[in-house]
């Protein structure tokens, strides 16, 4: 079933921003083909991970510009679609979770209302059915007292709970592809694992595709099947997650070596020779 039509097919994706000295490309000809699998995109900040995620959803804000030879989701070329059709697709079939939950949730609407809106935008259901789905979804993200939490406002919940609510909002329309951009960077280590386990479980259960974007090599290795390493707008290496430790590219090797280990014995950590990469 995975060998047939890919869920997402991207060829020669480019994102650029104008500068006084001409346009600067921040994603430089990226190719990507994704089935119902879990793909991790890793790289240092500024390497173009978020711009790649946003471009897939055609969410590059002006004055940024994106082009691609092909940007197909489930066999449909997205670049030809009207903005309206795109809006229908976002949420309903492709969802994106951003880094900071407090920023993405509307502060003046109750949590239950926002989750219900996310569902109603894509499905025609009775009030009663909407309510039932909202409660079911809050339970699925392990919120113990869903009726009560549905009445609360975003500022009344902790960061970890806020991020679980975001996940509920993104998954309630039952999308086929979830793009999670640093979904746990704002959370504590102890809560990070819970949130990622939850995403993982829901993705597997529903047979969705997942693109997990992160700067954390250990984290993508743990939660993905395949890993793409980005540097300066380009993919420098793609490998199976279980083979990350055997990565060949010197940039990937450099990143891996720089991570302190729990059983650390090195006196000095190896650092990247930045001159070799032309960046800072």
């Amino acid at each position: 079933m995975t060998a047939t039509k890919p869920l997402l097919d991207v060829e020669n994706l480019r994102v650029s921003f104008p500068t006084p000295t001409g346009p600067v490309e921040v994603v430089k000809g990226l190719n990507l083909s994704l089935g119902r699998e879990r793909l991790g995109i890793v790289g240092e900040s500024g390497s173009g991970k978020s711009m790649t995620g946003r471009a897939i959803l055609r969410l590059i804000r002006k004055p940024g510009k994106m082009t691609a030879d092909r940007l197909a989701f489930d066999g449909v070329e997205l670049q030809g679609l009207s903005e309206r059709k795109m809006r229908d697709l976002r949420g309903a079939r492709i969802s994106m979770i951003m880094q900071d939950p407090k920023f993405s949730l509307n502060p003046v609407m109750t949590i239950g209302y926002q989750i219900a809106e996310a569902l109603k935008a894509h499905e025609n259901l009775s009030r009663r059915d909407v309510q039932a789905r909202v409660i079911e979804m809050l339970q699925a993200v392990r919120i113990n007292d869903p009726e009560q939490v549905a009445q609360m406002y975003p500022h009344q919940v902790s960061g970890g709970m806020g991020q679980r609510i975001m996940i509920a909002m993104m998954l309630i329309p039952r999308p086929d592809l979830l793009i999670a951009d640093e979904p746990t960077s704002a959370l504590d280590v102890s809560v990070q694992g819970q949130v990622l386990d939850l995403i993982d479980e829901l993705v597997r259960e529903k047979g969705m595709g997942l693109i997990l974007i992160s700067h954390d090599l250990n984290l993508v290795a743990r939660y993905c099947d395949r890993i793409m390493v980005m540097h300066a707008g380009q993919v420098v290496e793609t490998c199976a997650a279980k083979d990350l430790h055997k990565a060949q590219h010197p940039y990937t090797r450099g990143l891996l070596a720089a991570v302190p280990q729990m059983k650390e014995t090195r006196e000095v950590l190896p650092v990247l020779d930045r001159s070799q990469w032309g960046g800072t």
Binding site: L244, V259, L272
Partner: protein, 248 residues
């Protein structure tokens, strides 16, 4: 041995009517690198702030190098003890160039030979002299953190309070800053009290750690115990497991 570099006795710290840190007892030896770990909100930064004079509402005892600390800012104290914050963006004045940032503590304390001292400190933190007249926004995250460390070093303190000094940085830049901190400690005989949520960073940088949970220290352990995971308190074991003790 003489006095401990940092001594905290029966320390309770409050913000207004809320007590957020209770009954902290801790002794950090001179030259030691000591970590405070625990999840966010557990009171780690508050402990550093109290030592630095930025959280004045406390009871108990705080001494640094044998000197009891008062409750407010204390300029004499600044010469022995300096703090570095997590966010290099927020902690530097946006309209001051590096040179002005580094010159200020020298002016405040009436120290001379300023140009030479600034050049020397820039050198120590591995920043080229050409960065001297740049504004913070013209520097990368790692360069900004080097400036923050340079500023803390200007008065040649003996004790450094480091609050998540690399949490905002990429792993490769983190490695540069951790190496730098380790080298400075060896070269200048510094004592570190460092807040972090990253146990592998403790394993690389520190001799001992105190684990905080809900405002209290639940365990003080040797950093070597991170190799075996052999901890006495349940909360520490949880934190250890959640940190994905297995490596790539």
């Amino acid at each position: 041995m003489g006095n401990p570099a940092i001594l905290l006795k029966d320390l309770d710290i409050s913000y207004g009517s809320t007590k957020v840190v209770r009954d902290v007892n801790l002794s950090v030896a001179e030259g030691e690198s000591f970590a405070l770990v625990g999840e966010s909100g557990s009171g780690k930064s508050t402990v550093l702030k109290a030592i630095a004079g930025l959280a004045p509402d406390w009871t108990g005892q705080i001494s640094v190098l044998g000197q009891p600390r008062g409750h407010g800012p204390d300029s004499g104290f600044a010469k022995t003890c300096q703090m570095v914050f997590q966010d290099p963006y927020g902690s530097l004045h946006p309209r001051k160039v590096v040179d002005a940032v580094l010159r200020e503590p020298l002016k405040v304390h009436g120290l001379g030979n300023r140009d030479a001292r600034i050049a020397e400190v820039l050198n120590a933190v591995g920043l080229d002299q050409r960065f001297r007249f740049r504004f913070p926004h013209q520097l990368s995250g790692g360069q900004r953190q080097r400036v923050a460390i340079a500023r803390a070093l200007m008065l040649e303190p003996k004790v450094m309070l480091l609050d998540e000094p690399t949490s905002a940085l990429d792993v490769s830049v983190q490695a540069e800053i951790l190496n730098l901190l380790k080298r400075l400690r060896a070269e200048q005989g510094l004592t570190y009290l460092m807040v972090t949520h990253n146990l592998p960073v403790v394993s690389f940088m520190c001799d001992r750690m105190a684990v905080m949970n809900k405002g209290e220290i639940v365990e003080i352990a040797d950093a070597k115990q991170l190799h075996s995971g052999d901890f006495s308190h349940d909360y520490t074991r949880e934190l250890y497991a959640a940190s994905g003790a297995e490596a790539v």
